[in-house]
């Protein structure tokens, strides 16, 4: 280790003691002092404790296995929460009062046999919209017929039946147009007589007409 120690031969003196100080030697001495410590005597015991065969087997499970297991547990928990949660996505939610009553979705059927949901019916899809509107009373009647019987069963299960919302009648608009213009009579009077305007004839080179812009008059 003599390679790491050097004697520079500097003739410095310490300002405090006035003693000659080799700064490099002082630096090395203090640096050595900063790492001059011994580990605790329990280090060997701790290491041997951790590398015991039984400890090693349990610790030998790779970290990716733990990560995978954790991810699987989280996924299972999330799936369970999603399944039992009453909150569902908009696709699963009942879309009409009748569906809310009956608890079973009853998508409207368009004239061409397609299943139509309200979100599917665009402005131009008149047949789908009509079928959807038409399906509401039917489903409502069917739900009303079914809702009488299960009331008692719900009470037996400790559940309370909630009054369904009143059906919302579809908006109906009459034809909207402007009222016709009503004009009682039109009276036309003669124009007053006009005095003739006397305009002298203009010849080539005539100076009778002058420009309003005097600058243009000065141009050659």
């Amino acid at each position: 280790m003599s390679e790491t120690r050097r004697d520079s031969g500097f003739g410095n003196r310490d300002s405090g003691t006035g003693m000659p100080v080799d700064l490099d030697a002082a630096i090395d001495a203090v640096a050595r002092e900063m790492t001059d410590a011994e580990p605790s005597g329990a280090l060997r015991a701790h290491v041997l404790e951790q590398i015991r065969p039984d400890r090693r087997r349990s610790a030998a499970v790779p970290q990716w296995a733990w990560a995978g297991a954790t991810a699987a547990v989280v996924l299972a928990a999330a799936t369970a929460i999603w399944v039992i949660s009453p909150m569902r996505g908009p696709e699963d939610a009942p879309t009409t009062v009748a569906q809310q009553r009956s608890g079973t979705p009853s998508p409207a059927v368009a004239g061409d046999g397609r299943v139509v949901r309200p979100s599917d019916a665009g402005p131009g899809d008149a047949s789908a919209a009509a079928a959807l509107t038409a399906s509401v009373p039917k489903a409502g009647r069917a739900a009303a017929a079914r809702s009488a019987a299960p009331g008692a069963a719900l009470a037996d299960e400790g559940l309370h039946q909630v009054q369904a919302l009143a059906e919302i009648e579809p908006l109906r608009f009459a034809t909207v147009g402007p009222d016709p213009l009503q004009i009682a009579a039109v009276e036309v009077t003669a124009f007053p007589a006009m005095t003739p305007i006397d305009i002298p004839s203009l010849d080539a080179g005539s100076s009778d007409i002058t420009s309003a812009d005097p600058k243009k008059e000065n141009r050659p």
Binding site: E33, M34, T35, P39, L43, V47
Partner: protein
């Protein structure tokens, strides 16, 4: 395992026995190199607690990867490389970073208690020693690491360079640069001239 005397057994032989499951052999390796590993970790981290934990982690990691040790370097160098990597990893942790952020580098950061002045230190004077400790702590980490590990006197420059993963020339330059910067700073404090 049949107990055998392993006091005079070489490191390669102990490594071979440890590979076959002889924990006593590995315990001997721990005893032989624990001070070097601990001091290297201490040079990087500055606190006994962290250095102790890193040393422990390094020995455990070395045992678990004994099959990967190819003996193209000495066991000690290989072990110190593991310890050094672990120490640097710990130095980059949020906890360590925050501690350095909250507590600016200075004499208080280096939590190695002063063991009392040796004969060599007695001639230095307390003021100079205090300034030196503080200024060494403030050095850029690469320079400070090189200086502290080299000054510890545990290993040759070749082993230190292998441990730090740098060429020997770079190591020597860093040690000299650390000394040069310290001399300049100390001169500014009235401790001699550069």
């Amino acid at each position: 395992m049949e107990p055998v005397s392993i006091q005079g057994v070489s490191d390669p032989e102990l490594v071979e026995r440890a590979r076959r499951g002889d924990q006593a052999a590995f315990g001997t390796l721990v005893d032989r190199h624990r001070t070097s590993v601990f001091r290297a970790a201490l040079a990087a981290l500055g606190t006994r607690e962290d250095a102790e934990e890193v040393a422990q982690e390094a020995f455990v990691a070395a045992y678990r990867h004994l099959q990967d040790f190819r003996e193209d370097a000495s066991f000690k160098t290989w072990l110190l490389s593991i310890a050094w990597r672990k120490a640097l990893t710990r130095r980059r942790t949020v906890k360590t970073f925050l501690r350095r952020f909250v507590q600016p580098p200075g004499d208080t950061e280096w939590q190695v208690p002063d063991a009392g002045p040796t004969q060599e230190q007695a001639v230095l004077g307390q003021e100079l020693r205090g300034h030196l400790r503080r200024e060494i702590s403030k050095l850029p980490p690469k320079l400070r690491d090189a200086l502290l590990v080299a000054a510890a006197g545990e290993q040759s420059y070749g082993d230190i360079a292998a441990m730090l993963g740098i060429p020997v020339g770079t190591l020597k330059w860093r040690v000299n640069e650390a000394r040069r910067q310290l001399r300049i700073r100390l001169a500014g404090m009235g401790h001699g001239h550069v």
